[in-house]
Symmetry: C2
Subunit: 375 residues, 2 copies
């Protein structure tokens, strides 16, 4: 009796599946390894495309080879696979679908969910993966440059609203301009953040409605490259016109926290300690974190996260991250400060952990104020 690895997921949305076989089908399909064999089992619809797009040494099977009556039921197909390969036990990712696992168990098969990462090696990026991430960062940078250019071109009307191209400049228009500049470079993003003022005080608010002068605008841009499936991630904060003093102070604090955190990132460093060190920098600048009137304020998210085939992946640079860095990780470093009274500041770079520290992969200046012209 054999043990096998098994994934049932869509290559389009499952990083493990894409890492395993390289095939980005939009619907779930089966991947397995057993002894020396690696294979996927797909519908007729995907069979020819899989032949072209799969990694080498992955055999492509049509479903009908495992389900003579042509039924697409994955439970039947996997049971038939197990019988044909004499498989008694499957190792599966922790997000393997429960319904399918229970069905397999009822057929007497052992299904063991991996507790940690299914492919721990996914944390340490190969040279090729690094190139893919850097390519995605360049696209994010192009998107940010476009966003900043639009804000620069905008005038400010008597109400303090930004006006561009003859109309009030909204978060939505700015997001579309950023997305368009990235699409032309093969990067797709469905949720660019362009949040102004009070909205910027909520870290994941994507922003909506008119943009105003003299208030923080957080631009957080995370395209996925169509060709490779790797993500970029980049955040800058700008103010059209004059930044209030408190914003300037917060900007300086966040910038220092980010740069200081980078000096701590190296193999052996503990993520939680890096997170806490960044938080201490912010506190030393007088910025406290807490909760008041049902709103969080200060620095209330993790300092960063892994980046690769997922936009958020392991390891996290957060308050509970206890596993030492190994080297080879790609991490965002993105401290932020958020206060409902004046908005938010977040500055995000991406680094890779090198043998003796880290190397910043982001190539983008940090400029807070963008000159205003009255209109």
């Amino acid at each position: 009796m054999n043990k096998a690895d098994l994934i049932f997921a869509a290559g389009e949305t499952s990083a493990d599946m894409l890492y395993a076989c390289g095939f980005r089908a939009p619907d779930p399909f089966i991947y397995f390894t057993c002894l020396q064999e690696r294979g996927i089992i797909v519908s007729a619809l995907e069979q020819d495309r899989a032949e072209k797009e799969c990694k080498p040494n992955v055999a492509i099977f049509g479903r009908n080879e495992f389900s003579p009556d042509g039924r697409p039921d994955p439970l039947e197909i996997i049971c038939s696979l197990a019988e044909s390969r004499d498989i008694a036990e499957f190792r599966v990712p922790s997000d393997f679908p429960l319904g399918l696992a229970d069905g397999l168990r009822q057929h007497g098969l052992i299904v063991q969910a991996e507790k940690g990462l299914f492919y721990p090696e996914r944390q340490r990026k190969s040279a090729q993966e690094l190139d893919h991430i850097i390519a995605a960062l360049r696209v994010a940078e192009a998107g940010l440059r476009r966003g900043v250019a639009v804000i620069r071109e905008a005038a400010v009307n008597a109400d303090g609203r930004l006006v561009w191209n003859g109309e009030i400049l909204t978060s939505e228009i700015l997001q579309a301009e950023i997305a368009i500049s990235m699409i032309r470079r093969g990067g797709f993003s469905d949720a660019t953040i362009a949040a102004c003022g009070n909205q910027a005080a909520q870290p994941h608010h994507t922003g909506s409605g008119p943009l105003s002068a003299n208030k923080t605008i957080i631009l957080d841009i995370f395209p996925r490259l169509h060709q490779t499936g790797y993500w970029g991630d980049l955040t800058r904060t700008v103010v059209k016109g004059q930044a209030p003093d408190i914003v300037k102070k917060a900007y300086a604090a966040v910038f220092e926290a980010r740069e200081y955190a980078k000096t701590l990132i190296r193999p052996g460093a503990i993520p939680a300690e890096i997170h806490e060190a960044a938080k201490t920098v912010l506190e030393n600048h007088g910025f406290r974190t807490g909760r008041q009137n049902d709103r969080n304020f200060g620095f209330f998210h993790g300092l960063g996260h892994g980046l690769g085939l997922q936009i958020h992946e392991k390891p996290c640079l957060d308050s509970v991250g206890a596993e030492p860095l190994q080297g080879g990780e790609v991490l965002t470093v993105e401290p932020g400060l958020y206060y409902p009274e004046w908005g938010g500041v977040r500055l995000e770079d991406v680094v890779t952990v090198t043998p003796d520290g880290c190397r910043c992969l982001t190539e983008m200046e940090n400029v807070l104020e963008i000159e205003a012209m009255a209109k």
Copy 2:
């Protein structure tokens, strides 16, 4: 002891989660219902945004209310939830993550995966959902019109390649133009199909490289509306210049198959029978289905699928669909013919099942040939 519903998923990618609470966070969070209570448990990062975006009557909890030490471990948090609400058993969707379910079971909780849809009512669309899908279809139609306009504007060079805007027109350029026109309307799509000739013979090939005259170009466009999360889906097939006779015949057959299938769609109809009837129309036109030289040919995918918060959802109009239609479903109807020798033809409309038949929601002509100008 109580029974509760439980989802652990990201609202951005889980249709069940989005349907349940309306909150599109990019990372997994917890949703539960127990007795009269409905709630979500989110990180501090998402707490304020959830307050604004969640459906009414969903209580928002911070993780720290269930995990005093602030650990983000969902297992700990759900165990603490179960204790606080005296919950002994959770009903979960079939795609609930196995690792988490096994953890909960080890803590003595019963976790039961729903065999069918977690929310069967999701198959029958409300008037509001129908409006959201129609809005997404209108965006898809705008994308298609842009694609057709670019092909119309293109010239044909001496090699039979399309030339547009001073350069060879590729699938990638056409995809970008289509995506851009949709982004301006609030629709995002990372995988528009614009596949020409032999590539069009693979139904899910997205297309790459130069587009040629006198060959089939399949345009399959499926944007998701940022504001609502609902999808549109639309396919047309065009030829720049002259369609070969075989393509004209295939087009007529596919058109007839689609229109005939629509006449069969009504409450009580069996999906597999509608699929087979469409296939028979294609066969009556002389188009066989099979596999030769390791390539599938003919009509080798399902006739259609449900459309809503997922691009592919239940019910499927395919060869194994045995459950009668109920009324209220939104379905794609998209027969196709694919032959490596000349390419592919697919024509896709979207219908909603009405009390006495179906209503077509797609508003888009069917035109095969686009006039060619030499250059």
